[in-house]
Amino acid sequence: MPPVIQTKGLSKSFGEVDALKPLDLDVSEHAIFGFLGPNGAGKTTLMKLLLGLVQPSKGSATIFGNDIITESVEIRRRVGYLPQDPRFYEYMSARETLDFTAKFFFSGLQKAIDERVDEMLDLVGLAEKADRPIKGFSGGERQRLGIAQAQVNYPDLLILDEPAAALDPQGRRDVLVIMERLRQHTTIFYSTHILDDVQQVSDTVAILNKGVLAAHGPIETLLNGGQGILYQMDVQGDIERAESIARKQAWVSNVEMRVQGSATKMLVTVTDEKAAQAQLLRLLMADENLIVTNYGRKKYELEEIFLNIVEGEQNVSK
């Protein structure tokens, strides 16, 4: 199946500043693609490039096979977009805003449009404030309205720039539930700073740092270490012997020992997961001079990977 979003060397410079360095990226259909990066990493620039709001300096991109420059209107017909700081016409109410948005896509029976607008207002919990002018809305209410207007056209692709940023914990949870629910109909490409959310709902993650794609892949691959399969265990006793046993195995590519108080944490990188599963713990336990108190496959937290990349301590790539 062709990717929904495909970029090839897509880049954007503002004068001397490279907001986005050449980027190659594929986003597959029905993915929930989480896009991470610190402020100024180029996330919003990428989204605006995809929507034709800024022009690329170099490279190309397609959405649904349509070129982002020459076929932008056709792309936007099938996309819903939530800007980072959603702003609407303040003289309109929430209902009028959704009606206005819907009419960029739909014509014909007003009743059908009204029903869709009501559905969206219910979805984001704004039904009771539907007829109030937006002028008096809080940041969270604007954000909810932004989420509603992004979905009003049943988009095949949702591009959400920090969808949960201005929301309270309940609002954040609601957004994640909505995203999960929409997955069967829609591809979701979103940026966020909230790593817990990404870990909860995303199936694919990209980390952008200083305009460069620093990591990209299925979230499971990233959380499992990206560069290899890693086992960690706490070992007591003859730790040199433990290291020696591990290093002798053909399927072990690296062993790292970290002394932590009376115990030593042993990190073993393996090339053959099945062999490691079957033999590693058994080999160590077989030695009478060794006690293994904790054993398991190392799983990274997304925050750990993210901070490593952003702080330049590690470069994880697919």
Binding site: V73, R87, K103
Partner: protein
Amino acid sequence: MSANNTFQMVNERGWRRGLGNLLRAEMGNWWKTKTWWMQALIWTGVINLTIASVVWGSPEGAPESVALYVLFSCLFPTIAVIIILQDAVIGEKESGTAAWILSKPVSRTAFIVAKLIAHSINIFVSMTLLPGVVAYIQISLAGGEWLSPLNFIAGLMVIWLYLLFFLTLTLMLGVLYDQRGAVIGIPLAIAFGSQMLLALIPALSFLLPWRLAVGAENESLSVAESVIMGVAPFSWVPVLSVITFVAIFIITAIRKFQNEEF
């Protein structure tokens, strides 16, 4: 799209994509808010009260009433046109609503054309037509005979053309610049500095809109006044020139807006 079988899709294509919806919104910005009646009230008040005080306030006032009406209905509302239009594009660029709108299936040409049409119509109604109707009655009553309605309507069109010059100029500058200073300053300088400029370079009276509104000293009537009075204007060239400028401003605004980044 995934689940839209109950809907009919918008069928506007090319540059017209989104125009109808944008136009409804722009018209709503005038008619669903206090903007239209505020503007109508202000300009009817300013123009017609001033005329009333001149026409009925002094015995010599009546013969000059058409000239004064033309002058007031061109120069005063120009300030409002510039203030309203300076915000039309820059306001949307700054607030982020332009980026939001343009993330929908909308042509950039439609974005500009909708603003142009809505503001042109609403400025005509609130700043030209309503004060004009009242002025027609005032001037006719003061003069003791009804002015030709056709000539008066033609005169209103010339007055509207004068305002359109500043409307389209300000709209274009809003596309070209991100600073409000230039967008407000240039049209104001043209509106109120023209007299000095024409004193230095008289030939500019054929190019700039000034002579649509103001007669030359001891020489001739303004174009609008001539049209209302049913006499031949000193020249039709200023009308053609202003129409050409308006067209250039619109085309420039539309072309430049295609490359604007948000």
